[in-house]
Symmetry: C2
Subunit: 701 residues, 2 copies
């Protein structure tokens, strides 16, 4: 193999999607760029702050690239029209050269620590971005660049933009050997061969990408903390962690670590990890002090305890409040938080045992502990009761825990949704979840108000998600999977954005403003989740994948396993009875109308029918068709629609970079092929099991 010079390599990566939505394309329509140009001859940024500097540099880069004009960063207010960046207390403060009323006292109170105001000021001949903190200024710059990249007018800007959620986090499941658990975009760019990678440029570009979508927290290692990664909190690696935190800090991102609950034992401390043991408590306090001495803004720790064979407080007869609170005490003096995952269930279930229901587990474990957690403990709750299936009900813990800080956990990486070999734009799924009314306290209480803290007036709130990035040139393997990463950040910032609006933004920023391209790709994205769902597991029943790696159809793949994930299909019917009446009673974990709706065979929505009920194949859905015919129909049309995605794409050839075109085409070809495999295996399985013919007499094997 030839060695490619680093610069050439970077060009190659850029040609394949490395810049993602920060590519700042020069292809704006002339009318648009003509409108922008007058504002862009100078950038005024006076404050000496690394984040302000990064903001100004980013803006310079964007303007130069998009408009092809010369511009400069100045520390004196220029004569010509310009863009002014600063904090309310700094450049726009008392000694400001700008008028004091450029930002009113009301303005200054409206942004919080992370928001900003962006305002076109004809009198001062500037577009001013003002914020309470430097990070707000940076967010404002990314906002402006997004407006420009999507061709929006700049002449009448006047808005306060404030993130709705406090914590907007991504979780890496990277291991230090370079592997990524559930990673589908190459190996880790954080680690290789048990060390941190030396590629600071990529780390900085990653921080830029994350900051541009408002991410303010990154956990840098797998929640399954293996032996080697346990050492991340030791002097062996803390200097490297601190270096990474330093890069993130510039971009307003706090670094978090996943920790091994058994760290004291494994790192030569006390011979126990009992959270009520004094020596253990002291050990963690000293550990916290050591971490914060190097990383003063260290975010905190993420903990997967007593789950899937990970150690935890159960070992010592303690509950999860004991376990989390002990860590919380250690972090409290420094403002750190403990993010405690609720993904706790019996992973050694006997498939014969129908009395145990994994879906119940998180609620059963944590609901009784509501109110017992310290103020700097935050529970992290997966969106559904199982595990990031293509379709699940919303976790009943969301809305069920009034007295506990909580964040919602999404999965950007497509573990069960096509593994970045299939296109599956997940923002519509996340929107549904965020809009779901939990019926908490008998009033409108959507998940988005649970997680943003407004429902119960709780401060520590937000969303976390398992990220989908890796060392692939385009970060996400499938180029279209970038839309999930982008969309996640945008949605965490503002859950009221529509999935379609987010898709349009991303498509324009990556592919440019060609109307046909924008319309076609947006439609592909919007269709993709329903398409994927239609040819995979039906009606909310989930799984039906190959064990372990979770790719590809295998209807009985988890049916006789220990994982608590069954469909109970027999010759007569299919589904899991989770009713109070005759099943596991899981439906009673919901409140009010939700509990009633899920309990009722008549009211239960079609798409979740088999999650809540075991029904005969001839059961008639609300849609009017039978369950078995629905399975056949959706699998035939799903595979057809996957094929159609490819046709749609092919119509776009020549309207984008060939390198973009080809990589997506190859993935869509694979998807179309593999959708047929899903179609045939699922249909054949149910045809062979039920003996019921397809009404349309299509080919089933």
């Amino acid at each position: 193999m030839m060695t490619i010079p680093a610069s050439e390599q970077l060009q190659h990566m850029k040609a394949h999607g490395y810049d993602a939505w920060l590519s700042y394309q020069s292809s704006l329509p002339i009318a648009v760029s003509a409108q922008y140009r007058p504002w862009c001859s100078a950038i005024c940024a006076i404050e000496q702050h690394e984040t302000i500097a990064a903001a100004a540099t980013e803006l310079l880069r964007g303007i130069t690239s998009m408009l092809g004009v010369h511009t400069a960063i100045t520390s004196a207010v220029p004569d010509q029209a310009h863009i002014a960046l600063g904090t309310f207390g700094g450049m726009f403060g008392e000694a400001s050269s700008y008028p004091a009323d450029l930002f009113t006292p009301t303005d200054r109170e409206s942004t919080g620590a992370e928001g900003f105001i962006i305002r076109t000021c004809p009198a001062e001949r500037c577009i001013a971005i003002g914020a309470a903190e430097p990070v707000g200024v940076l967010y404002g710059v990314f906002h402006l660049l997004r407006l420009m990249g999507t061709g929006q007018p700049l002449d009448t800007l006047d808005e306060a933009v404030v993130p709705v959620n406090g914590l907007r986090m991504v979780d890496h499941w990277d291991n230090m050997d370079g592997s990524i658990e559930r990673g589908y975009a190459g190996s880790s760019f954080l680690y290789e061969q048990q060390e941190f990678t030396a590629n600071q440029e990529r780390i900085r570009d990653y921080a830029r990408l994350m900051s541009s979508i408002g991410i303010n927290a990154i956990c840098i290692n797998n929640v399954n903390v293996h032996q080697h990664e346990t050492q991340l909190i030791t002097p062996r690696y803390l200097p490297d962690v601190a270096k990474l935190a330093g890069v993130f800090r510039v971009y307003g991102i706090r670094l978090y670590l996943s920790i091994n609950y058994a760290s004291p034992l494994e790192l030569g401390g006390p011979e126990t990890a009992d959270p009520l043991n004094d020596a253990v408590r002291q050990w963690w306090k000293e550990k916290a002090a050591a971490i914060y001495s190097l990383i003063p803004d260290f975010g905190g720790v993420v903990v997967k305890a007593d789950s899937e064979n990970r150690p935890g407080p159960f070992t010592y007869g303690r509950n999860h409040a004991d376990g989390a609170n002990m860590l919380a005490e250690a972090l409290q003096p420094y403002g750190g938080i403990v993010i405690w995952r609720c993904f706790v269930y019996n992973c050694k279930q006997d498939w014969r045992d129908r009395s145990t229901d994994r879906a119940r587990a998180a609620y059963d474990h944590f609901k009784p502990l509501d109110g017992q957690f310290h103020d700097n403990v935050v529970l992290q709750i997966k969106n559904g009761p199982l595990d990031f299936q293509v379709r699940e009900p919303v976790s009943p813990l969301l809305g069920g825990m009034e007295h506990t800080h909580q964040i919602l956990e999404f999965q950007i990486t497509q573990e069960y949704t096509g593994q970045q070999r299939h296109v599956c734009y997940l923002v519509p799924q996340w929107k549904e979840i965020l809009e779901f009314d939990t019926c908490a306290q008998g009033r409108y209480a959507p998940v988005k108000h649970v997680v943003d803290g407004s429902l119960w007036g709780r401060a520590r709130n937000g969303i976390a998600a398992v990220t989908n990035v890796g060392a692939d040139w385009n970060w996400t393997g499938h180029l279209l999977a970038q839309a999930n990463l982008y969309g996640y950040g945008r949605l965490a910032w503002d859950p009221d954005l529509s999935a379609e609006a987010i898709a349009v933004e991303w498509v324009k920023l990556v592919f440019g403003l060609d109307e046909l391209v924008v319309t076609a790709i947006t439609q592909m994205l919007m269709d993709s989740w329903p398409i994927y769902e239609s040819y995979t597991s039906p009606l909310g029943v989930g799984w039906m994948v190959n064990p372990d790696h979770h790719y590809g159809p295998n209807v009985d793949g988890y049916e006789y396993s220990k994982w608590g994930t069954y469909h109970y299909a027999d010759s007569k019917g299919i589904g899991v009875d989770r009713t109070v009446h005759s099943g596991s009673g899981y439906s009673s974990q919901y409140m009010g109308a939700n509990a009633e709706q899920y309990e009722s065979l008549e009211q239960c929505p079609d798409e979740l029918l088999l999650f809540f009920h075991h029904v005969p194949y001839e059961h008639r859905l609300k849609s009017g068709t039978t369950v078995i015919q629905h399975i056949y129909d959706t699998h035939f049309t799903g595979a057809e629609r996957a094929e159609a995605l490819l046709s749609t794409w092919r119509e776009l050839q020549g309207r984008m970079k060939q390198t973009y075109y080809e990589q997506v085409e190859a993935r869509l070809e694979e998807q179309a092929e593999h959708a047929k495999e899903w179609r045939d295996q699922i249909n054949t399985y149910f045809y062979r099991k039920s003996g019921i013919e397809d009404r349309e007499r299509r080919m089933i094997y």
Copy 2:
């Protein structure tokens, strides 16, 4: 971990079964040992030959251990009663101190190169073991030691013992990294970390074990020859191979190597492996010369070509006769042979395609080539058309190839028969296969007469088997799995031995002569194959295992795969239609009555019904019950009988070494547990699929 001294380690291994059937136990009944003792005060062995020396040493070891007496090896005929060991041309030759008529001219002609005569000679006050060659003397000594270990009288010995099969081979599937493909007894004792192991003592003990059961050929590496192992035929490793061959040689064993058909390309020779290319032919000739210069008795090569992604002549548009003959020419000058495996099939089948039948493949590939192979090519034919399932019909190639040398391939390692975690004594299965009448040429033509060469008077004949040994202390993981290794050797020597007689021998040699122990373990062994079959895949349909590793139940594990291994179960019935009338026509590959029997739904034996026919679950078997009820019944009783094996074993506690007792008890406990898992998964699968109740209303999930 503490380091254990080598000698202590060896004692520990011996306590756990390392000596296997060569443990020469001192627990013989007094009456028996008193009878033996008079003959055993001296061993007369005059000839200077490493094999004779090994024979005398072995006898000395056995006598000393079993009888606790002092004995000596002498080179002069002693005065007292003794055992005399020698060749007809040597110690019993013209210059012999023994009477010339101790062995008559008829005797001398009767033994061939490997047989021997053992005779009690009261006049000469000796038990004489005479043979044409030193290896026959060694076999005679092992024979005598077996008689003693099993308590047989020695006073009237007078028999010529001659192996029925010429080639009695074991194949190692060991890789040089120390792994063993389909190995269930620890890592390799031949290799570690890409080198030959240094443990010559273990190698020698292994050679003793193999020689004691008559093995005369060992292939030392996996038929799937990976990159590193391709180098075994290079100067890098040939000296190591030669050293190993030297140890084997003492014990009458020839060494074989599996070779990579693409060796010329991979080892820097011609850029092709086309068998008709002159440079390739020359390359192999030079390679053969190099091998034989170091190993003059090198046995030859084993080749898996064009199978499961291995390279082969198909790549160059040549057939398998072209491919094998080219290698045969290279080996011919030195007396080497090419063992060419017939395990060739399409391993990328589409499960939707019912017109392709993997069972047909070997016959379809090789039958047309009958008569085209050189005289030193031997086809190696797996016992069944698929792959060592618990039940398969006999391969129709056996009996189908009149003009081609062929050996039968068994699998001692229990890939599909419990992986040495379940007891499954395979000798009864092998016996059925050897006794199977192929109907070749319209007369009695059992497989055993095909493979011993007598049917068509062919000289190069015999049996090979994939061995089950590894670095575990007791060689085979499950102590009772030693019986398969032992039994294979004994059966290859003489296919007319009964499975039960072989079991009794092995049990006595390992556990001693306690009547209760012998009866109980023999019965366990004899029951074990039917028990394993009864709780695993039913009525000859095969598979239903987890993919890749092949352990544990998974009914649909291979149903939607590319491997050509399907059961086609639907709500109405199950089985593979291989009839001429309506199926793949595989049944026509058999001759005469066999073809007729398998084609006929009425005549087809129950145990192969689903191999040949797709039938409704309510189809009534010859046994009187229906297919579905048979599945339920056998799985319930199979699991019960597995449990009963454990009970039987527990009655033997205190009647054997505790170290033997405990290791087998642990495996039987696991088997009993896992048999329940098979029972429940298989029954549940078919209950759910068919909807038919068990008549006995037992628990199905």
